[in-house]
Symmetry: C3
Subunit: 139 residues, 3 copies
């Protein structure tokens, strides 16, 4: 068995989903990896990683709206307000979702189902550079 | 080190938890796997995987009720309504829970604690066939 | 490739975050592990594992308060009440967060970003002994 590593950087500009399924597929292809698991981990706790439907973009709109209502950007609700009204809600949204994902790889391809994509879910308002670690373990 | 793969299909018929701890234990036993980690990943984003108490079935009832209140099936709340009133809530519930799990395996046995089981958590109303990838990595 | 195992026990005394980043770093150092992934899994479903900011302790206060509001300790809301008013909310909070984490290891060091730590998030009120499995997979 072997492992392979890849570092991905995504520049975000506001609260939405950023798909990087194609970058991931391209790297797996180039690495000539056949089967095993892919781990994706984000080095931040104010943004998340998520596997989600990529067929209808309305799903992404609804997701963002839902999380904004569930975790309001209202300084009166939090003690930690020094980093902006979106920072504490961002940490909570991160706790409610995921910082790492695991996806099986079969025959050199991601096995996530037909309508699914891999996304970074940005919880902060301003532009930020996000770092993601990809690790393949298998053969 | 080695890896082993197994595909499990579960036919669901409504919003509840479907335990498959025994199928998992049986497969690990047959594979003669000794120690490492077990990854379970579901190929859908409108159902989840969850480790949860399997002693008192009331825990499952409360879980389902809680998530139904937290993410109401009300078309007025969402833009994505074309796949039914339960589809967008299903995607949100999926984002709030997990699409993949990792469980340690020791001495050929799942190391999840005495009262815990592995479940598929179905968020859709209608009958659906769900696909789960199981991967053992270790020795 | 190799794998290494470690069992960690944490005695909790109430609903808060318990950091164990240093114990984890110390073990990785002693194991002379170079690169791969670290899996952390908790053997309970009434406490969670979480990667979160460890710079400002207010973040932890806000997290605890938020989850207590989101999942109230009110027996009238649940069927499963025999194990105390905090037990069913604990299981729900667990479902909303994570029972296992995956963190990359590079050059013998956790690659989780500058301001992040690894925590046990206790959802129960009384003192409990919690068991966590750590598994390194790599080289």
């Amino acid at each position: 068995m072997i492992q392979k590593f890849y570092n991905l950087e995504i520049n975000t500009n506001g609260q939405r989903l950023y798909e990087f399924t194609d970058d991931t597929i391209q790297w797996i292809k180039e690495s000539k990896f056949k089967q095993g698991i892919l781990n994706l981990s984000i080095q931040h706790t104010s943004a998340s990683l998520i596997v989600q439907e990529n067929a209808d973009p309305d799903v992404q709109t609804d997701l963002i709206n839902y999380f904004d209502k569930l975790v309001p950007m209202d300084n009166k609700l939090y003690v930690h307000t020094t980093e902006g009204k979106d920072d504490m809600p961002a940490h909570i949204k991160n706790a409610l979702t995921d910082t790492s994902l695991l996806i099986p790889v079969k025959n050199g391809r991601l096995d996530i189902g037909t309508w699914q994509g891999i996304f970074l879910l940005e919880h902060r308002i301003n532009s930020i550079q996000r770092k993601i670690n990809l690790t393949l373990i298998g053969e």
